[in-house]
Symmetry: C2
Subunit: 445 residues, 2 copies
């Protein structure tokens, strides 16, 4: 080899080493098992799509970030930049065969040529679930239940699901005769958290052309605080007489009652009239999820209801509701909170290759332990025991099975707890029954 | 919407609907859990790599099939076409941090602009495991054990792992003074199955320039048959005196002894001197796996030992051994053998929305069943029961929980076995204990 190629990844892309990949796989598994427990089914779609499919509804920003090229047949193609457009295309193509309601989850990578200086990656994983083809509020309620179960299953105690309904503000604006200026109003309200009421008030007046009374009503709605029943009570007079507003209010009230009925702790769910999520896309329920200990990272799981998923591709009217888990953001948060255990092994038990002439005895012992459903890594070379235990320590094994020639001859084996250093000598006979029991005792503790 | 975009996928790409995706996820999970039980750890690498990384060692064929383009920064990039080159680049880049031996699995999509007329797809999943950084035969033996456990876990009874060692033939050729013509000899031997001994004999003489005695020895080796000890016994005199050949023979003998020791059924593993796998890449053990009931589909899991994984990217000498599961081929085989259960739901239990005023009661019941670890899909709309049960039937649920307003008022619920049509009415009180017990009884049966 005279010239070597420098091994490197592209800017904005990254390798996942075992220490990063093991918690990532765990998080994906956890999300999948929660989605599945509600009857959501997996789908997958191609990474590459016709360019016209991807750019159909894209914003200028996503179009700019799209990885696009011509394939071998001269077709204009691109790498998907989200899982929503592929879902819309998929639903338009297959909904007759699938039937409705159609509940799917999709966990897959997407690509965007983002500016990496903002700490963004150009390849990242999305983890979405949606219910398509029903307008029933049951599906909205279920979305909140799924998000709740998901964060509970991940191990969070202190998280809050904020819910709003776009019909609440829309109803008020209809009532005030400002329905056609809703985008301008939403844009002004977006500045509430940072700029405060004064800034918003000014923009509502000058840009959205709202009167003093209209500004007061809008701000009253946007700054409502209190527990769920208080918020509902305060919304009632504000929205009275608006069909849209009353429908939104009723949907929120049904949701609150249903979540109470299923025993969701009240602190984990609240109506938050300040969240809007997307100026055009969402039409009913909107949802964001915050970690109490890390409010600064923003919402780690967001979603909502939309009116018509696939209008670009089919005349079929497909309303839906769903949310997306911010996998990478959540992993970063869990790391910051110390919720991730550092390990780079997938097997709890390490078996050093101690006595060089006894490979088959070790293999037999390992096979017995594996048959009991416990993972064992057998070191491939009969190096010095200390070296092998260093390897085990670096990777984070919990137990080592240590057996020299004498022990093997006597049908025995030491089971060593690598966290405490304690070691027990047990019989290695009878298909490893005693070894397995001692491993289980340590792992269970 | 005046003009709609036709929803379609690119030629050679496909959507996975739930019915196809559910067994696919199951197979991936099964592979992962077997790999993990031996201490292999997951990694992931970017879909996009620098073009020079991907074309470094590529053959003319893979280069032609490569999806390549210029990214936003004008860099020449490509989509990975296998997981071996990314592993080589990854190992070169990170091996100091990872330490050796490094055992990884990698389950991910790759892309090749193949000719789809041969029934090939342009996006498909690879499912590889490898042990890097050791020359120990333990790692080779472990590869066979992993493949065995994998096929047993998938539920196959009749599979055969064929193993050979490249050193066996190389040793004979060295002994015969034909070492430098080994590629020509291998190419001739490749025709044995189809053309028979006569064709091979002729090509060995005319193309590889072998003498009559040499042809006889080569054909004797290549046509050895019998059980493992018979094959080993016949190889011994043929290879006597060749260091390479004796080493290969010894490695095979060690492997046979080790597999016997771990209790692998003897019919599932055999030395097969006729397999070669790749003219240059593999240097020691080679492995192929066949399904007895479907020999025509060829090897569904293949691998072997290689001398130096990452020589293009690093001066570090990294020998390794590993295999790759042909996921799509295997799924097709399982479907052909009727081993895949048709279902498009991930939850066993279906809960119709029967009495419109009782949504919260249904949600509570569903939550209780889910807390017991059993998936339940609740239908979102209070449609006619018959329609809802049609939906359940189409998707393949196993159980329906049926409760009308009267039953709910009486704290009761019917648990219906959808396979047999039998139905039992049980109490829905006390967090659904009786319902859960009845579900478990049916699922366990």
């Amino acid at each position: 080899m005279s010239e070597r190629i420098q091994p490197r990844t592209l800017k904005g892309f990254r390798d996942y080493l075992p220490e990063a990949m093991i918690p990532r796989e765990w998080l994906i598994d956890t999300a999948r098992s929660v989605y599945r427990s509600y009857g959501f089914s997996p789908i997958d779609t191609p990474a590459l799509e016709y360019l016209e499919i991807l750019t159909g509804k894209g914003s200028e920003e996503t179009d700019k970030q799209l990885y696009r090229f011509q394939d071998h047949g001269g077709r204009d193609v691109g790498l998907r930049f989200d899982l929503t457009i592929p879902l819309a295309r998929f639903a338009a193509q297959h909904i007759q065969e699938l039937g409705i309601p159609f509940k799917r989850y999709h966990i897959a990578n997407v690509w965007r040529g983002e500016n990496t200086q903002r700490g963004r990656y150009r390849e990242f994983m999305q983890c979405d679930f949606d219910t398509i083809g029903t307008e029933s509020n049951s599906a909205d309620i279920e979305m909140v239940l799924v998000v709740h179960d998901l964060f509970a299953a991940i191990g969070f105690e202190d998280f809050q699901i904020h819910v709003n309904n776009r019909r609440v503000l829309n109803g008020l604006l209809e009532k005030l005769g400002l329905a056609e200026r809703s985008t301008l109003v939403l844009r002004a309200l977006d500045k509430l958290a940072k700029g405060g009421a004064k800034v918003v008030s000014q923009e509502l007046t000058t840009v959205a052309g709202a009167s003093e009374g209209q500004v007061r009503d809008i701000l009253q709605l946007a700054t409502l605080r209190g527990d769920n029943s208080q918020v509902l009570a305060q919304l009632t007079p504000l929205l009275a007489g608006s069909e849209t507003g009353e429908r939104g209010l009723n949907e929120l009230a049904e949701m609150v009652a249903a979540l109470d009925a299923t025993g969701i702790p009240s602190g984990r769910f609240g109506i938050d009239v300040s969240i809007a999520r997307g100026l055009d896309y969402y039409t009913g329920t909107v949802l964001e999820t915050f970690l109490e200990k890390l409010p600064g990272i923003g919402s780690v799981c967001s979603g909502g209801r939309y009116d018509n998923l696939a209008e670009l591709y089919t005349k079929e009217h497909l309303p839906g509701v769903g949310a997306s888990l911010g996998l990478d953001r959540l992993l970063a948060a869990m790391e910051e909170l110390g919720q991730l255990k550092k390990t780079s092994t997938t097997a709890p038990v390490f078996l050093p290759f101690f006595a060089a002439a006894h490979r088959d005895d070790y293999l037999r012992l390992a096979a017995n332990v594996r048959r009991a459903g416990i993972g064992v890594e057998f070191f491939p070379e009969a190096k010095k025991l200390g070296k092998q235990l260093q390897y085990a320590d670096k990777r984070g094994f919990r137990i080592a099975l240590i057996a020299g020639a004498d022990e093997l001859a006597a049908g025995q084996c030491q089971v060593k707890n690598l966290a405490t250093g304690e070691s027990t000598t047990v019989s290695a006979a009878e298909d490893g029954t005693a070894v397995i029991a001692e491993i289980r005792r340590i792992l269970g503790a």
